[in-house]
Symmetry: C2
Subunit: 114 residues, 2 copies
DNA sequence: GCTTCATTTCGACATATATCGAAATAACTC
DNA sequence: GAGTTATTTCGATATATGTCGAAATGAAGC
């Protein structure tokens, strides 16, 4: 596996994405969206399904969208949210495996640098 | 497909683990530990490499260990920390892929998404 | 333009997290 | 047991997050 340098920007983005996932409610929201598929769900529906109040939901959605995990799109009076860009998620998943499981595969890392 | 119910406990654990990863500093710590391999690093060394103060580091380590991402073990006067149980991390990674990419695998609906 | 519906912003508050330095604990050496 | 080293706990403080309800905004319909 390539030993990519992983700069500060990467760390910042990864941290933000993990942080966005670090909430039961947001995880529940994301789960609803994933199950809803590409059609997505409106904020209102999301609120009904998760029991989260409107303003609180808006707050969480901001975090999820700014982390790039969810996309929003106006459709009439509603805002439709959908789980997004699996590229990002897969990258995040790969990050986990690379960063946390590097040891699972024999690595020829010489020493501390970076 | 395996449409497992994903109970509250799972969500709670996953959220805690993601939250533990949701910090640049903790990510940096984890990275050090991964690179250090099974031998791990002491708290002191970790502090030197990351520039994080002792007490702050202790704080972060508590979060990482309680999330099950890092294990600590006394060795003489030092506490040796090591990235842990790749099972957990792989499970977390799988969680990401399952929960966030359920739509990515063309099952039978074949719906396009942007 | 007023009304209705859907969402966001605002103001407020409670709780959680991050951070530090100093003091306390634990382990080893003598 | 005193001294040294490594880590944790404690107390303090700053910032961030989660939460709510009410008011404001945006969109559609009359």
């Amino acid at each position: 596996m390539e030993n990519k340098p992983l700069n500060i920007a990467d760390l910042t983005i990864a941290a933000a994405q993990f942080a966005a996932l670090g909430s039961e409610q947001r995880l529940a929201v994301l789960r609803c969206l994933v199950r809803a598929g590409p059609a997505g769900l409106s904020i209102g529906m999301l609120g009904e399904r998760t029991g989260i109040t409107g303003s609180t939901l808006t707050h969480h959605m901001k975090i999820l969208t700014s982390a790039g995990l969810v996309a929003q799109q106006r459709q009439g009076r509603s805002i439709i949210c959908a789980a997004v860009a699996f590229d990002d998620v897969q990258r995040l998943s790969a990050f986990l495996l690379n960063e946390c499981c590097a040891d699972a595969q024999p690595e020829k890392d010489g020493g501390p640098h970076g």
